[in-house]
Amino acid sequence: MGLLDEHNFPFCVTAHAFNRDKSQVAVCPNSNEVHIYARSGTQWALAHVLGEHDLLVTSIDWAPQTNRIVTCSQDKNAYVWTQDAGGAWRPTLVHLRIRRAATQARWSPREDKFAVGSGDRCVAVCYFGEDNDWWVSKHLRRPIASTVLSVAWHPNNVLLACGGTDAKARVLSAFIKGVDEKPAPSPWGERLPFGTLCGEFDAPAGGWVHGVAFAPDGNALAFATHDASLSVASPQTASVVSVRTPGLPLVALSWPAQSTIVAAGHDCSPVVFARDGDTWRVARRLGEDDQRRSAAASPSGNSAFNLFRQLDSRSQPARASGGDGALKSVHQNTITAVRADPAGGSDVSSSGLDGKLALWSVGA
């Protein structure tokens, strides 16, 4: 378990998405553009700039099999980008019909639909309408009461989890007639017409739901809330198991293997949670035991000595940062996105407001 690769971009990375073999990455440099970088040796070289949006691009998702990119932005628009024969990316219009900013867009597992959460208190589920050659949307409205911050698909391509500022994580059915076949019965429900509420959960101390993710087999839902806890809800036992972390809130999470959840947030380092029978516990934090980083924080190597000397002479309490203000962790500012390996492995990638894009191996 540990850091595999890291790269520093000279801008805040708002969102990132890898293609299937991780040879290209699409990032949003905290602006209205999307930059696609291609790997060249150990560095990333800028390959394309996708500039169709007017305001900040809030989310990017790259479908691994069909090689399409969906981007959504605070200007109430979403575009689906396809690569033409010459290698350039062309946008296709999405008739989103939302009246406020879009917050997150995710392709479904079968890549024939995608969901866009928005500040219009709805999730727009979009599918391709052949007659007009554009993507049309159906809205999931009730009972969402406030901005949707994050969406996640169930492996059966029909169920959708969403969480937002109304402090609830919900599982809704996004079954589209004509695109989906009837799903197999699951612990979440049997007959699932569009818009059915299959589950509604909240965290022990309340708090906005920042990230949601289904288990790889789909039988549980994990969500990270602003009370710095990670909760796992399972419909079979109708229970919600919560793990309170002692740090700052977690904002993004990924569930790469059945017993491993990786979450990251304002504490600037990813936390790995491991299953402990029926409950979950914090297994370790990634990137903080890096030898060269802790050596850099105290050049003389005697960090305890320096600590007490500072406390004695200057009555300064212990500082979390080193002499130059750098944090001990790999990321230097909030991690805003944790993405799973598009090829299905157990690696995760994280990107944050410090401009760093890091790849971690989590093991299983």
Binding site: C12, T14, N30, D54, L55, L56, T58, Q74, D75, K76, R99, R100, A101, T103, G119, D120, R121, A145, S146, T147, T165, D166, A167, W208, H210, H226, L248, P249, V251, G265, H266, S315, P317, A320, S321, G325, L327, Q332, N333, T334, T336, L353
Partner: protein, 169 residues
């Protein structure tokens, strides 16, 4: 004196660190707008509970947080009239130059002497722990500054009075 200051500043530091977990949030009320929610105050669900950390009834810090912004208001200790005038002049000087301070608010919240507004754009450009360090240092320094100013004011007044009255002796 320092015994009560350290726990007070530590409490403010941990509250600020927790309150400064901000993210970019587009307005739910008006399309294509992005406002600090703690200032707009329109959507109740994105505001957090305000918290007051007080050392005594004269020194308090009010921390109001939301999903994309934090407002920190400080009430400075003002024991007598001279200190009240000095604190007022000092904070007025700072607030008139709020643009160079970036995170300073031009008008303090009612009941407090000076207010800071930190938005998610500030935490994207600057380190969060450094912002918290800055506010804590500011709280320590402002007390020192006002005491220094009062001492030099009294010293000057004494010198002036002595030199004036000496001609009558």
């Amino acid at each position: 004196m320092s015994n009560t200051l350290r726990p007070y500043l530590n409490a403010v530091r941990s509250t600020l660190t927790a309150a400064m977990c901000l993210e970019n949030f587009a307005s739910q009320i008006v399309e294509k707008h992005n406002v600090p929610e703690v200032e707009a105050g329109n959507s109740q669900e994105v505001l957090l509970n305000p918290l007051v950390v007080s050392r005594n009834e004269n020194e308090q810090v009010l921390i109001e947080s939301s999903i994309n912004s934090v407002r920190v208001s400080i009430r400075i200790k003002q024991a007598d009239d001279i200190e009240r005038i000095l604190a007022h002049q000092f904070t007025r000087f700072l607030m008139m130059r709020a643009e160079s301070f970036i995170i300073l608010r031009r008008v303090p919240i009612k009941g407090y002497d000076i207010s800071f507004l930190v938005t998610n754009f500030h935490t994207e450009q600057m380190f969060k722990h450094k912002l918290v360090d800055f506010i804590i240092e500011f709280m320590e320094e402002v007390d020192k500054e006002i005491s220094e100013m009062k001492l030099s004011l009294n010293a000057r007044a004494r010198i002036v009075a002595e030199s004036y009255l000496s001609q009558f002796v």
